[in-house]
Amino acid sequence: MQAELLQILLTYLKAFAVGGGICLLAQIIINFTDLTAGKILVYFMLAGVVLTATGVYQPLVEFAGAGATVPISGFGYLLANGAMKGAEKGFFYAVTGSLAAASAGVTAAVVFAFLMALIFKSRTKRS
């Protein structure tokens, strides 16, 4: 029982450290270059794609779980993974596999953003 609890705690710790570390890396890049947030997101996503395609990201996902899949590089991992799995099935799936794998995220973003736009208004800020 205690070992199991320790195991769970360790998983959280790993997720925290790796996820935080990826964000820390992005913050350091923002601090020392003039890259804007939008560009950072694209570069990290592309880095996720490249690292997955070269086989580096998969071990990280197995190690850190959500720590590696929740940051935007995890979105790249999803895309590349989908494409790689699709490639085994044939040409059509090689081309469509990446977006099919990411469809959950994109659909959720569109649907929820739409709903929020129905409900909320943007408000002015005080600081």
Partner: protein, 331 residues
């Protein structure tokens, strides 16, 4: 009469009245107790931020006209402009009035440019009265120039905060009140600053250029003025301006004040201070003119600064051309 780039107004157009409208955040600062209308919320009872900005501007215009004791029929011309594309706030505010409208765009220096133009017409005897007004709104400027309001991005430490507010004044012929005695037309200066978050550094050279030319054209020096008032350079830009003028042999550090630097109570969280067309307009039309009429300041050089960029130009990697127009106010 003109000398260099400075026009001298021999008939000395007077500021008959002035009015300022400011947002809730601005009301906590130095201008809070001087502004005529303080917004309860930044929507001002309208459905969009653009409509709120337009309503603020027309409120400032109407109030200024009312305080001057004139009828709207006595007003000969309105000079106005704002930061939004195609100066929609100013033009849409102008459709409420029956007097002619001349739209001007000079970014955040719209206030001083419109005073300069209005004084020229009044001084030349072409019109009897002219209204000069401008304003800006934080939320509408933010969505046009930067990002959606709810986007969770960080502000760099150089950034400034667009003022929610509007100010207007009525120029005319009178023996009483603050007079506009001369004005220096600005030149567009561009020292190659491309960082859209660092407006202070981009605008400081334009302000220094205009202020120094004003000193040279009128054979004055900084000590002749009670106040040298710049528009929205912020804390960082003010430091740079003092360095730039000092380099040319004019030490303005003793009497220089920047509207953006003083408008907010706590500069810390607004980083470098306020910016936007409404910044200089609200400060001038409440605090400064009030103090001038009370005799605290007798001679003020008002040099608002404007950054003449658009989202297209900065997207294409262009640097930021800037301008500053100065008018001298005396009592």
């Amino acid at each position: 009469m003109k000398k260099g780039n400075t026009i001298f107004f021999e008939n000395k157009p007077a500021i008959l009245s002035y009015a300022a409208v400011c947002g809730t955040k601005e009301s906590e600062g130095v201008i809070g107790s001087f502004a005529d209308v303080v917004l309860k919320d930044d929507m001002f009872g309208e459905s969009t931020f653009e409509k709120a900005e337009c309503k603020m501007l027309s409120t400032a215009i109407s109030l200024a006209v009312k305080k001057s004791g004139l009828d709207e029929g006595d007003i000969d011309v309105l000079f106005s402009g704002d930061l939004l594309n195609q100066i929609i706030s100013a033009s849409f505010a102008a459709r409420n009035y029956d007097f002619p409208f001349l739209g001007v765009y000079s970014a955040c220096s719209t206030m001083s440019e419109s005073i300069l133009l209005g004084s020229t017409l009044v001084d030349g005897g072409y019109v009897n009265t002219a209204v000069c007004a401008t304003g800006s709104h934080f939320a509408s400027a933010e969505r046009q120039y930067r990002y959606p309001l709810e986007l969770g991005c960080t502000r760099p430490p150089q950034a400034q905060w667009t003022v929610t507010g509007a100010g207007g004044l009525v120029l005319g012929r009178s023996q009483k009140g603050v007079k506009v005695t001369c004005g220096t037309m600005g030149r567009v200066r561009d020292f190659g600053v491309t960082d859209v978050n660092n407006m202070g550094a981009a605008m400081a050279p334009a302000a220094a250029d205009t202020i120094i030319r004003h000193f040279r054209d009128t054979q004055t020096e900084p000590a002749d003025f009670d106040l040298i008032l710049t528009g929205d350079l912020g804390a960082l830009g003010s430091r740079i301006l003092k360095d730039l003028t000092w380099e040319k042999g004019f030490d303005i550090s003793a009497n220089h004040v920047d509207c953006g630097e003083i408008i907010y109570k706590v500069v810390e969280s607004e980083f470098q201070g306020g910016s936007g067309a409404g910044c200089s307009a609200t400060v001038l039309n409440s605090y400064i003119l009030e103090k001038m009429n009370a005799g605290l300041y007798k001679r003020v050089l008002f040099a608002a600064t404007g950054a003449l960029l658009s989202t297209v130009s900065s997207g294409q990697g262009e640097s930021i051309p800037c301008i500053s127009h100065a008018v001298r106010l005396e009592i």
